[in-house]
Amino acid sequence: MKALDISGLTKTYKGGTQALKGIDLEVNEGDFFALLGPNGAGKSTTIGVVSSLVNKSSGEVKVFGHSLDSALVDAKSCIGLVPQEFNFNQFETLAQIVINQAGYYGVPRDIAKQRAEKYLKQLDLWEKRDQPARELSGGMKRRLMIARALMHEPKMLILDEPTAGVDIEIRRSMWTFLKEINQQGITIILTTHYLEEAEMLCRNIAIIDKGIIVENTSMKALLSQLNMETFVLDLPVQSKPPSLTGFEFRNLNDHTMEVDVLKDVGLNDVFKQLSEQGVTVLSMRNKANRLEELFVRMVESGRDKKAGAA
């Protein structure tokens, strides 16, 4: 079953800005899906329409088969939303925020209290339950919004840049948590500016730019489009710069080398040639995030196509 089925979705704001120009998007049940795009591409508008915060201009949105037009209540019940901005009452305590949210979905108060304990503990917020939300750190506020979104136990969780401004340790603990709940069967749709995050978590991906979907495929298929990667090799200080045959390379200084490696060639020959020259490779890393490279390329080629058509 499709967790989300969007067809021909358009949105034009009152000022005339056309944020969505007829997008089609499908997300399978149980998927971990990334929706990527530059600022102003239409990601938040898409999420806004799906979660009923933005009125669509035309098109159809179905959530687990429930149309927003004819079965809004059923559709809403399936969705948990973690928005980009903090949108809880800063003066309420954490317990009040999550218990009230469950109440809006019709969860009786005694069950809501049990779930509050479960999710606040899972997100390491239980000790803070009686504190007003304004006293939390940024990372805690982000986790509070995840706990709040889970209180009615939705089938699909939508996260709009959930780790923005969060330190790396908390970000990684949030990734672990999201992976766990996805494994339990919750469909997750994620927008993020950290492309590493999307690459690490998501199985499928859509790239949106200027209100249209420019790519919609699996992460694996997307990354396979990248036929060359650049590696940075850290070496001991060399009196004579090493060289490679059959590879594009650059000696950045006396202890760092950059090598372009075609995907079907592999790295073995690089190591072999360096070894023959008596050079030890101390460490190695990708020059740029692979997905980031692809992302920039996709967005630019989409724009070029449009410019060409015009």
């Binding site: 809403k76 809880f88 003066f91 019709g106």
Partner: protein
């Protein structure tokens, strides 16, 4: 479905009550102090020189009007401030994404305003008992008028908050509309003291009917027929609730 809606309504109502109880120094204490001053100055000091009005001491005469004045002001202020804050902080989105029918949202916020108005009404009544012996002519009319008036002004406060874009916008109506209408609504005087023309003009002021309906419940006297008062209150409630529901339904000020 009915259970879910009831749970949602109860949640909004509890949230609203918790809000005004949390800031009780701002919400519950000021009306008690203001009304004490009214009772001391207008009732005890000036009232003694005024003598009787409508067959009652001046203090007895103004008590129902002063309670009603607090009810009107507080029911309006509670919802306008709470709903606008929810819009401003964007936590209204918590409700908009949930499967809560829009009429439940309106009812929940209005219910919060009514709860605060009733509590204020009880506090002001208790304060007035230090100054005068309260008499009750018809308790049912007191309760019905109290509920209908507070729900009417709570709904009006919600409509104000829907259109408000800044905090200034939610103080404009109370300052320039509610306060003048309340002071000219027969709280401090009987309409019979006015020249005939001004009596006629005063009857275009809806607050006259609420104050007099409420006064009838306490004293059994009124410048207008209490049934007309109740009828108008029901009518205004239906009209304003429908407007508020339609505004939320269309997402005015809350959905883009």
């Amino acid at each position: 479905m009915a259970n879910r809606n009831f749970t949602a309504l109860r949640t909004i109502w509890i949230k609203e009550c918790t809000r005004f109880l949390r800031i009780w120094v701002q919400t519950l204490v000021p009306p008690a102090i203001t009304m004490s001053l009214y009772f001391v100055i207008f009732g005890s000091l000036i009232g003694k020189r005024i003598g009787e009005m409508g067959g009652f001491s001046y203090m007895e005469f103004i008590v129902p009007g002063l309670i009603m004045m607090s009810v009107i002001t507080n029911s309006y202020a509670n919802v306008s401030s709470s709903f606008f804050s929810a819009k401003f902080q964007r936590n209204i989105e918590e409700l908009l994404i949930a499967p809560v029918p829009n009429w439940i949202i309106v009812l929940g916020f209005v219910g919060g305003g009514v709860a605060r108005a009733i509590l204020i009404g009880i506090i002001v009544t208790c304060v007035s008992m230090f100054f005068v012996d309260i008499q009750i002519h018809n308790l049912a009319i007191i309760i019905i008028t109290l509920l209908l008036t507070s729900s009417l002004f709570a709904t009006a406060g919600l409509i104000n908050a829907v259109f408000a874009k800044t905090f200034d916008d939610i103080s404009l109506v109370p300052t320039f509309v509610l306060t003048p209408l309340t002071y000219l609504g027969g709280v401090f005087y009987s309409l019979t003291l006015l020249p005939e023309f001004w009596q006629w003009v005063s009857k275009a002021n809806p607050i006259v009917y609420m104050v007099n309906g409420f006064r009838y419940g306490f004293l059994g006297v009124s410048d207008v027929n209490y049934m007309v008062s109740l009828g108008l209150l029901v009518g205004f409630n239906v009209v304003l609730f429908t407007i508020a529901y339609q505004l939320i339904n269309r997402g005015v000020g809350i959905r883009s």
